[in-house]
Amino acid sequence: MLSGKTVLLTGASQGVGRGMALAAGAAGAAVVITARNLEAAEGVAQEIRAAGSKALALRCDVTDRGEVESVIAATLQEFGKLDALVHNATSRFSGRGARLDKVTDEDWNDQVAVGLRATFLCAQAALPALKASQGSFIILTSNAGIEGSLPLPVYSAIKGAQRGLTKSLAREWGPDGVRVNAIAPVAFTPAMGKFFDAQPAMRDFIESGAALRRVGDPQADIGPVLNFLIGPDSGFITGQTLLVNGGATMV
């Protein structure tokens, strides 16, 4: 399905990013896995190569313009093109809960850097290659950006902002043949696992809130939706947020 396509993902060494990377590789794409932790990224790349697809692991701090530009350059050098950049990385403070009146500058600034500045840097750096490939820019957003989250107001703001960015960039880049979409997943991640370990009742709460009564799997449930968005069957879809959440939220 994605044979001949090259996909670069940020924050892809674990969780939803890793699952999407594995799914893209399984669909035949050449996959560039970027993360701050190169060793973990290399582990994902090895899994993809073991399954028979091409993969490249690169270290990248997405808040650093030079590093973002250099991973895109390395991708073009290795695979000759870039068909999709998937901005999935989130701040290490994303899950730090605090009601809005208790939010500090530290909470705010790091999430803004990884959530917003990095989206800007990735979008800007990828644009020439995406124009050339008639490719896609894809942002991982969240239900928090649609519904608002009491304990995660900063995350809500960032994820909502990314949806606004998705819509306007889709209109801006549409005439050039570049599509821009967002995915709002609910899927099991290591962070969610820790959360469930600490608060076992939350697993039931989250699962029972979904029409399908389960939390998604990054590779099996979210990956195919990413593959659809970067593949040939979604060429008329742009500016949209796809909610891949088992029916947790319906808009």
Binding site: V112, R117, L127, G148, V154, S156, G160, G164, K167, S168
Partner: protein, 208 residues
């Protein structure tokens, strides 16, 4: 109606000419109006936060911005919304609750070419407002967004964008009379609406 807001203290945080017009409208309805939290005695009943970035009304392709301009157009204004909400929480809590009203642009919901930074601010502000509404409801604070068109937010800017060609169903609401009056209704009616976005555009956008 002239004394609808009598005894109410309102704060309109920023927003330039848009904030001025709303403030004048609220004053006409009887409110004492301040343009910053520092001017108050530390308490207020109503806080209006216009999410208006005059700089963002100029078309600017994302590809042409440098990092500093991105921060100025996107991150700084969204950060200002966060601090404005936190200030609002402080002064409203002093009075045992009240209303927060954000004025947001409809174009951030619809998307518009060369407005990516401002769209991010608008949609980020709406999500932040929802999180605030959820967090502060138990304290008697409501948080709602009123969405306005570019014609309302930047009437004198001939570079503003109109992506839509269908005329609104009603006349476009005036800031000082219609929009301020609607805010007064929200501030004096039963506190039963929070976390919502209402289109104060006279029936222009109906897709959301």
């Amino acid at each position: 109606m002239a004394d609808m807001l009598a005894g109410k203290i309102s704060v309109v945080l920023g927003g330039g000419a848009v904030g001025d017009a709303i403030g004048q409208g609220l004053a006409r309805l009887g409110s004492i109006v301040f343009r910053s939290v520092a001017e108050t005695s530390g308490a207020a009943d109503l806080v209006v936060i216009p999410v208006v970035d005059p700089d963002g009304l100029n078309r600017r392709p994302l590809a042409e911005m440098d990092e500093a301009e991105w921060i100025r157009r996107c991150e700084a204004p969204l950060g200002a919304v966060r601090t404005a909400l936190q200030e609002a929480h402080t002064v409203l809590t002093e009075r045992g609750g009240g209303q927060i009203v954000l004025l947001v642009p409809t174009i951030s919901m619809l998307g518009a070419a060369d407005f990516a930074a401002y769209s991010a601010v608008g949609e980020g502000a709406r999500s932040l407002a929802k999180a605030a509404a959820r967090g502060w409801g138990a304290q008697g604070i409501t948080v709602n967004c009123l969405a306005l068109t570019q014609e309302q937010l930047a009437p004198n800017d001939n570079r503003t964008v109109t992506e839509r060609k269908v005329p609104p169903a009603l006349k476009t609401p005036e800031l000082e009379t219609d929009v301020a009056g609607f805010i007064a209704t929200l501030a004096t009616g039963p506190a039963v609406v929070t976390g919502t976005t209402m289109m104060l555009d006279g029936g222009d956008v109906m897709s959301v």
